[in-house]
Amino acid sequence: MGKKDVWQGTLALMVLKTLQTMGALHGYSIARRIEQISGDLLSVNYGTLYPALLKLEQEGYISSEWGLSDNNRKAKYYALTRAGRKHLQSETQAWDETTAIIARFFAEGKAGA
């Protein structure tokens, strides 16, 4: 079975969460990190990742800066802004509520079966 692509709409949230946990990161390690956390079950499509990063930056949730990587390569580093932190917080809450509701529905279904 192949790896799953990241669901549309959730990628932005994963990026924000990753930046919150790890601090400033470049695009490649954001992608690697997301794949690792998922236990290599997810595969990040770069054709979506970079536009998503751009969108978050345009919205002011993240900022970018060129820097040097561990092995001395020039790379563009992305970091969470204050607005991004707040946005992540509210989105996390909304996500929790949604999953809780969905979970309750599934629990209901099981009980009936």
Binding site: G27, Y28, Y46, Y50, Q58, S69, R73, K74, K76
Partner: protein, 897 residues
Amino acid sequence: MRCLRALLMRLGGLFGKDRRDAELAAEIESHLQLQIDDNLRAGMDPAEARRQATLRFDGVEAVKESYRDRRGLPWLETAWQDLRYAVRVLAKDRGFTAVAVMTLALGIGANTAIFGLIDAVMLKALPVERPGELLQVKMGEDGTVFTNPIWEQVRDRQDVFSGLFAYGGDRFNLSPGGEARYVQGAWVAGGFFETLGVQPALGRPLTKADDRRGCPATVVLSYDFWQSEYAGSPSALGRTVSLEGQPFQIVGVAARGFSGMAVGRPMHVYVRLCSEAIVHGKESWLDGRSIWWLTVVGRPKAGVSPQQATARLKVLAPEIFRATKPQNWRPEDIEGYTKRTFETGAAAGGISDLRGQYSNALLALMGVVGAVLLIACANVANLILARSSIRQREIAIRLALGSGRGRLIRQLLTESLLLSLTGAALGVLLAQWGSQLLVRLLSTSRSAVTLDLHVDGRILAFTAAIAIGTALLFGLAPAWLATRVLPNAAMKSGGRGTIDGHSRFGFGKALVIVQVALSLALVVCAGLMLGTFRKLANMDPGFRQEQVLIADVDLRNARYPEPQRLAVFAQVLERLRALPGVHSASSSDITPISGMAWNGEIVVEGYQAKKRGDSIAYFNQVSDRFFETMGTPILAGRDFSDRDGPAAPKVAIINETLARKFFGQASPLGRSFVMERGPNPEPPVEVIGIVRDAKYGTLREETKPTAYVTERQAIEPARMSHNFELRSATSASDLIPGVRTAIAEVNPNVIIQLKTLSLQVEESLTRERLLAVLSGLFGGLALLLAMIGLYGVMSYNVTRRQNEIGIRMALGAGQTTVRTMVLGDVAILVALGLATGIGLSLAGGRLVERFLFGMKASDPAALASAVALFAAVAALAGYLPARRASRVDPMVALREE
């Protein structure tokens, strides 16, 4: 908020493309490098590490593409591309572009001009503080002006307005003697400037605080008047200006842009109502209980709604009207008077006679120019259709290369939009020029119309809106049809558009039918308006207007006491009669078609009025030889003479209508009537003559029953000014220098104003002239556009059918046959269009009926002549393509395939 930020960033992303692309490339390169490093660490050899990294990245160019889409605004970028392409395409086909742009400029320009006029006359708010709050105090629909006693009562009793004022428009003579020079102004009372929130540009305004009867003669000038008369010099303050021969001290200049309450009739001098007696003396209007001349406007207190204000005024009404009962009215009239009540109406746009006079006419014209624009749209749509057959290959290739139909339609619509916006820009220029012309058509010698017609945001928004609407209207259908081709079919068929020719051509023909129908309706409308104007201008008004000069002689500055005035006027008349070139001269209170009127009820023995108002007659007070001067024949009896002096029995001359209505079949000569004038009995007036009917106030009116009494038996004290009429042996204007000298010889301080009777009559037809000129102009334009459309479609049709025609001719069809065939097509199109147009004219006729005089909207002659005109012009427009078709050389046509 976030969306807006993102949008701004993306707008920013449209610029600095190269730098941003380089940065993206660097970012991707660093990404790849990082992955290669990881791959090397995992033990791959360098070549494999690079290959794997690139594979994993999954198409660098695709990532770049989607990144770019997110970076900028793709639709904006393609719109920009479309626009540049459209400019190139249109620049290449200059002939088409020029015709389309000119057509649209005329259509849009006409709409902008008329809309600008409607905006200025009907929609614009006054340039005052919060105009939306202002309320005009009225008495129902007709009673919009009040007497001064009523105004004073309202002012003292009301408690709902925070500011309230009254004004009466008037014109003031600036000249101390000789030829009069008038300026429009107003008598103002209460807080005129305070309530409107108009600040002085200089000095101080007239305030409520110093509004006391007998106040000194002070004046506030309008900014424009200050500029033109005093060159904007501050030293004007404190100087005096002569108004009606009285010195008024200049105390202030109103804010720039403010020119009173009336749209189109700027007021330039504002004088206090409380100083009115200085000008009018004993004849002051301040205590006149039946002199209706003041307009009352107020601003309700904060929190008081217009409804509440009206309700409060209604409560006050009975007291106010009881306290101001007019003297000398009959008891039943007084009873009606005390039952009157107040209403209010919005005054945000000011109060203007222009609006009442022209609103309907302007709306009708808006309909006309709307139709012109539709015709223009149909024309351009047809041009685009014809062109799209040439572009079929281009479109087919683009479709074959994979562009979507939506994308192509967008491209074609961009071209349409570019055309219509260019047309609109030109149209605004045309409108600027046209509306100046319109205002000149509205102005008369007595009352110049000045309108603020500069192009503002509102007019531009209107023009932009119709430009875009127009582009959709003429662009959408052709774009839809043009992209409905199968690529392979279009490319196979060579240059000539034969694909789907039938249905497409059906659309073009339908457009021509619509054009013909609409423009026929406009031509019929123009015919009706022109007919109305001609009927009015050529009618026999019952007097001969040619060669008559009217002199308005004003004794105000000559300061004669009232008893002397009659003698002075008699002396003037004598002098005028002695002038060389004067065939006859007379004097009168009222001149014909001047808009002035004097009427009242009369009692005739044996005549029973069926309803109220049925015994109203119109009066004029004239000298002897008045009828001779006016050219109105005396049908029976005699003219006034020396016998009819002040002591002799009262006599009158009546017109035919009065004779018929009040005296029936029997001869009225020697019989008498009584003029009802208040509660006291009046002496009977004996009829000594009957004159032919003549128009009194307007040319349109039904002839009024009119009685003429003689000046020598005047019932009222002589006024300060009087009209004299002179019939010239040559032309009216030849008399002017002589009249000036003759009157100056009597007294150089006498003020005179001269005008020919023909001009006075002509100016009463201003609205009719406006409608006739404009509908004629637009009708002609519509006709021209329709014919261009017809010609275009037919010649395109001939080109398209060249092969077919060639074959027919090769098989033996003669030139005449071919010509007849093409003309037959034209005839069918035009006939269909005309039939639709006749229906349209009949249906739309009701809309213009109210403007007509002496003709019906369904006037068969107007319809028939419009149809004949159309048929003739259509024959011409169709003949040229038909002739071209008949000259097709069969060999050339066939070889071309």
